[in-house]
Symmetry: none
Subunit: 415 residues, 2 copies
């Protein structure tokens, strides 16, 4: 089934409000195995609404309209759609009673304008709004379905799930399809290179759609398998995932929706290990990412952002002569930072970063983008050295990513 | 002038990515006094791109397309538009050299696929991309303008301002006017409340357009003054800014483009003061924001992310009995954290946060969203207490914002 989305409202066309209903509806429609044909935004204007709706109806089986159902004069969606099909309006007493009840319970003053929200085009099937006064409706015209729901995202989402979707399923039972999805997250390979690696396999022939989603510094792949049975969908998906893994193995850090800090947190919890962090060039970003995860206090003890050399010496115990001899940005300093923060915290693991985020501070030997990552446990210390080439903020992000990946590999026994 | 927006990409139609370019472009177009006629989203598909573009061209003078300029096989925008108008593609050597340079400087492997990003339809005017590899272009067809820029928001915004807008002004010179702009950044008032506060003044009558840009947790206002001379534009802008300041004074933290961490950094530098930070609930975010600013090592000494109580006691010297009696989240603990981090660092200022970011850990007395912020200097310590009501990650952001604002006010002698 092909679906169109029509978002209605001056606030969209002025750019004052960013439309989030369309992406929500699109996700839900795609999950059903249906297809979004076009998404169109238009102002609160009679002739525009009519012409844009008609345009969408030429290419779709159903159009979902959002917005313009308020009580004020500029909200004209219901009337515009009724006029488009030459239908008179009727007042629904049940909806009217519901609106009056809301006004009474909230001690709002009733004005006659509000009755407008209880009016619908003749023949409409009403979609109740349990979260507000603006009820929606569905209208059939020339074998096509037109849905109208409010623009307020919370109401739109509730009414889509509770009203639009059940009616769509009832009206298009033949379109039932089975879907299986997998997200594969990679690091260390550009979008173009990921794409090229997969170019020799025909995923489409297998009924698999491959989407690319760069989320700096990661590249995510989403494989969507659409088949006639759930078993077939899962089987084909497994096959396709296997082909991707064959080609991108060493760049894949996870399959699924978990992000890197969540994975690290889960592994630390599973292994009952605790962590402390010493950050120089990442400036607290690793710690902030780790503590973005609810419950991180179970395994995360502390971080020391030792930006000055004094902090490295005083708190972490890195001898001043080491910093003087090898530099604050060096393997020696990184190792001692990791060991130092582990020791003072009494944790199982110490993780440390020291590097040059830029734009200044680089040298021929240690250019901007240089970073040393060290990981100390009770037995030994490992150090890795990288040079990245981004701007200051993206260097910080990619340094923190590399450090968390190093920790993940350690926790999985791969380091 | 009537403008249409065509956003191109499977990730939009699948709902996986929410389109933020359209609202940005719509705001900017409206600020110029032009009008958005329709916004349409479509997948990466030849016939769909062609038909939707033609549809938009029937009702507009210019169409701005975003997305589908990547190096991968699914990115077909340039080719689709060339085919729509029966134009061959040509390779632009300057763009090709720019892309190769980016690959070399970042140590990426060059693959022939990438040459695709240097190809354009015959007759196209190239819009350079200084932030990435995907250059855009403008094409004239039947007296109408078709612009194509990348979908990556940062690139789209830079290229809209640096490429699309100047060409639109050149091609529609009747719209040439003198412009003055001011950004006013507020914190502590919702978008609706900001809007309502300004409703009693007629900015439009003064030739001033007011744009609203929520950047959590801030609300930015951009005033654009459009007049017949530069002097008039500046004068009217000053007048309008005065009216905004009258109404929103206590919520405005800056006028101009500087962000909060840059302001704090500049003030610390000007006053030759140094800073150390002790973070609990913010988990390193304050430190990370401060170190996002190049040159922050001049005034930022260190941060201690004392997530565990042990860290608060061992490093910062907060007595265990204080934590036991008043709680880790308390005014007493916050004060001692700020004093402790200042003392061990020998800095002029110590800034501390302790609170409950959520989702768990709240109580009736100290609900989720509670935060204590303390600032210690050589003479005294100040503490402030707030309760915010967001989710974990946004609580962290708003906590860090409130702490940096407190520091800013202190540095300006307003605390």
């Amino acid at each position: 089934m092909r679906v169109g989305i029509l978002t209605i409202g001056n606030e969209l066309m002025s750019g004052r409000v960013s439309d989030i209903n369309s992406s929500f509806i699109a996700r839900e429609i795609n999950l059903q195995g249906w297809r979004i044909e076009a998404m169109l935004a238009v102002e609160d204007d009679f002739s525009s609404i009519k012409s844009r709706l008609n345009y969408l109806l030429t290419m779709t089986d159903a159009v979902i309209c959002t917005g313009g159902l308020g009580p004020t004069a500029d909200d004209i969606t219901t009337e515009a759609i009724a006029k488009s099909f030459g239908l008179p309006l009727f007042t629904d007493e049940k909806v009217l009673a519901h609106i009056k009840e809301i006004f009474t319970s909230r001690n709002f003053v009733w004005i006659e304008n509000n009755t407008k929200q209880a009016m619908f085009p003749q023949g409409a099937e009403i979609i109740p709004n349990n979260a507000g006064t603006a009820a929606g409706f569905m209208l059939k015209a020339a074998g096509k379905l037109i849905f109208v729901i409010p623009g307020v995202p919370k109401e739109a989402q509730l009414m889509f799930a509770g009203g639009v979707l059940p009616i769509l399923r009832r009206e298009f039972p033949q379109n039932e399809q089975f879907i299986a999805k997998e997200t594969i997250k990679t690091f260390g390979l550009g979008e173009g290179a990921v794409d090229k690696s997969l170019a020799d396999f025909d995923f489409a022939a297998l009924g698999i759609a491959v989407g690319f989603y760069p989320v700096f510094p990661e590249n995510h792949l989403v494989l969507t398998s659409r088949q006639n049975s759930q078993t077939a969908a899962e089987e084909k998906l497994q096959l396709a995932c296997g082909e991707v893994k064959k080609r991108l193995n060493k760049y894949i850090f996870t399959c699924g929706e978990e992000n890197l800090e969540e994975i690290v947190g889960r592994l630390l919890k599973e292994k009952k290990l605790t962590l402390a962090v010493a950050e120089s060039c990442t400036g607290g970003l690793i710690s902030s990412r780790i503590t973005d995860v609810a419950g991180s206090s179970d395994y995360f003890n502390r971080a020391v952002v030792s930006y000055s050399n004094a902090a490295k010496t005083e708190i972490l115990g890195v001898p001043a002569h080491v910093i003087e001899k090898h530099g604050a940005v060096s393997e020696e300093t990184a190792r001692l930072m990791a060991e130092g923060v582990r020791k003072i915290s009494g944790t199982d693991i110490g993780l440390a970063t020291t590097g040059i985020a830029g734009p200044t501070g680089g040298s021929a030997e240690k250019p901007v983008g240089t970073v040393y990552l060290a990981l100390a446990d009770r037995k030994s210390t490992i150090c890795r050295h990288f040079v990245f080439r981004w701007d200051r903020q993206r260097n910080k992000i990619i340094f923190s990513e590399a450090a968390l990946l190093m920790l993940k590999r350690y926790l999985q026994g791969e380091l």
